[in-house]
C-alpha cells in the first residue's frame, strides 16, 4: 500500500527539502497556493483560524480553568477526575483535549510536561505551544535533567520537592494545576486567572506572583 509507505515518505521529504526554495515563508505560501487553488480550503477560513488563535484560544482559557478549580471544590474534583469533561463544561474543548489529564502540584511535588517524541500539547485549552516547548533542547533535556531545565526558567526547587515529568507519548495531554498562592483569599475567578501563567500550566513556572 503506497499510503503508508515509510520509505516513500522519506524520499519525498528529501526531494522537497532539496528542491523547494529554502525560505520557509515561501514554502508555506506554496502550500497555501496549492490547497486554495484546489479548493480544499478558502483563504478566508485560514484568516479566521489565525484570528481565532490570536484572540480567543490561548493560555487565558487554561487560566480560567485553574482559577475555577481554586474556588469551586466540585469543579476541582471534576478537573482532577476528568479534565476533558471539565474543560468541555467551560466550552474550551477541541484540538487535543479529548483525553486531558490535570496533575496537581503540591508543596513536595512538582509536575513538568513534555513530549519527547514530537510536541504534543493541549492546544484548545492552552493555545499555541511556546517555541521552547517544541525545541529539540527542551524535548531532549526535560526528562533527563528537569531541575536544570527548571533553573533556566527561574524555578529553583528545594531538596524536599520531587519532580514528576510527564512525557506525552500517547493521545493523553497534560495540564499542570499550580498551587494557589497565599495572599489571594477572597479574589474572584478573573483576578485569580490573571496570575496563572502559561508556563505554570506546563510546569516551567511554579510559584505564582501576585504582584
Amino acid at each position: 500500500m503506497t499510503r503508508f509507505d515509510s520509505d516513500k515518505a522519506a524520499e519525498i521529504h528529501r526531494h522537497l527539502h532539496a528542491h523547494l526554495p529554502s525560505d520557509p515563508a515561501l514554502r508555506v505560501r506554496t502550500l497555501e497556493s496549492l490547497v486554495t487553488e484546489r479548493g480544499l480550503v478558502d483563504p478566508a477560513d485560514l484568516d479566521s483560524w489565525v484570528e481565532l488563535y490570536a484572540n480567543e484560544v490561548g493560555p487565558m482559557r487554561g487560566a480560567q480553568v485553574i482559577a475555577r478549580s481554586w474556588t469551586e471544590p466540585e469543579f476541582r474534583d471534576l478537573l482532577l477526575r476528568d479534565a476533558s469533561e471539565a474543560v468541555r463544561s467551560m466550552g474550551f474543548h477541541g484540538h487535543a483535549t479529548g483525553h486531558l489529564k490535570a496533575v496537581e502540584n503540591t508543596s513536595t511535588q512538582h509536575n513538568l510536561v513534555v513530549c519527547t517524541l514530537c510536541s504534543c500539547y493541549p492546544f484548545a485549552v492552552l493555545g499555541m505551544s511556546p517555541a521552547w516547548y517544541k525545541s529539540t533542547a527542551y524535548r531532549a533535556r526535560a526528562v533527563r535533567e528537569p531541575r536544570k531545565v527548571l533553573a533556566e526558567f527561574g524555578v529553583e526547587l528545594g531538596e524536599d520537592v520531587g519532580v514528576r515529568v510527564w512525557d506525552s507519548t500517547a493521545e493523553l495531554r497534560y495540564i499542570v494545576v499550580p498551587e494557589r498562592p497565599n495572599g489571594t483569599d477572597g479574589w474572584d475567578r478573573d483576578q485569580l486567572a490573571a496570575i496563572v501563567t502559561r508556563n505554570s500550566m506546563i510546569g516551567t513556572d511554579r510559584d505564582l506572583r501576585i504582584a
Binding site: 527539502h17 484546489r38 479566521s48 510527564w166 512525557d167
Partner: protein
C-alpha cells in the same frame, strides 16, 4: 524505527530559549491554519507522525516546527495522490475546484471544537495489568513507528493509571487502527538515568500493553 525524533535524554542541545513566543512569523500562523483546516485524502495521525520522523535527520534538527509541519503536510498530500511532487515543487496545480463558502470566525470556533478527537475504543480483551503492578518494558521494538521512547526501553516501572483501550499508535501508523490497553507508567529517574539522578524524581510515559514484557 529509531529515527532522530527520539530525543529524550540526548545531550548537547544547549540552553533553552525560554522567552520565545508560540508564533514569531505570519508564515507560522498560516502553516498552522493550513495544517488544521485541510487534510490529505487518506492516512492516520500516527502515519503523519511517522512520516515526519522520516525527514532527513540533519533537516529534522535544523528547521523549525512549523516548517516541518508544512513539509510533512506536502508529503501527505503527495502520498495520498492529492497532488503530484511536480505540482508541489512548482506550486501550481491546474485542477481548480470551488471551495465551500468561507464560514467566518464562528466556523473556525466550530472547527476547533470538532477537533476534539477520541482515541479510546471498546475491546473484548481484559487488561493484563492493574494499577500498582510492576512492569518491564521491552528492550527491542521492531515497529516502524513506536511511542516506546528509546530511553524507557528495558526498564522497570509501576503502573499508575489504566485508561482502557486506545488506538495503538504502532499499528495505526501502518493503517491498522486496532486498540490496546493503555497505561500511565512511572519510572524512577534513577532507573532511567542511573545514580546521578535525583532519587525523588520520576518520569511517566503513556504506554500500550504490548510494550511490556508479557506476564
Amino acid at each position: 524505527m529509531d529515527t532522530i525524533h527520539d530525543l529524550g535524554g540526548v545531550e548537547g542541545f544547549g540552553a533553552i530559549d525560554t522567552k520565545a513566543p508560540g508564533f514569531s512569523h505570519d508564515w507560522e500562523r498560516r502553516s498552522w491554519a493550513i495544517a488544521k483546516n485541510t487534510t490529505a485524502s487518506s492516512g492516520t495521525l500516527d502515519f503523519w507522525r511517522h512520516s515526519l520522523e522520516r525527514m532527513e535527520p540533519a533537516t529534522y534538527l535544523s528547521i523549525s516546527y512549523f516548517e516541518k509541519w508544512c513539509l510533512n503536510n506536502m508529503t501527505q498530500f503527495i502520498l495520498a495522490g492529492d497532488f503530484t511532487l511536480e505540482e508541489v515543487l512548482s506550486g501550481r496545480t491546474d485542477q481548480r475546484h470551488q471551495p465551500n463558502a468561507p464560514s467566518s470566525l464562528q466556523g473556525a470556533r466550530a472547527r476547533l471544537k470538532a477537533n476534539e478527537v477520541f482515541f479510546d475504543r471498546q475491546i473484548d480483551a481484559p487488561p493484563l495489568f492493574a494499577v500498582g503492578d510492576s512492569v518491564v518494558t521491552r528492550e527491542y521494538i521492531d515497529a516502524r513507528h513506536t511511542r516506546l521512547a528509546r530511553y524507557a526501553r528495558g526498564k522497570s516501572g509501576t503502573i499508575r493509571a489504566h485508561h482502557g483501550a486506545h488506538v495503538f499508535a504502532d499499528a495505526a501508523a501502518v493503517g491498522d487502527e486496532r486498540a490496546e490497553h493503555l497505561y500511565t507508567v512511572e519510572f524512577s529517574a534513577r532507573t532511567l538515568w542511573g545514580s546521578s539522578a535525583n532519587p525523588r524524581d520520576s518520569v511517566t510515559l503513556d504506554l500500550w500493553e504490548s510494550y511490556f514484557v508479557q506476564p
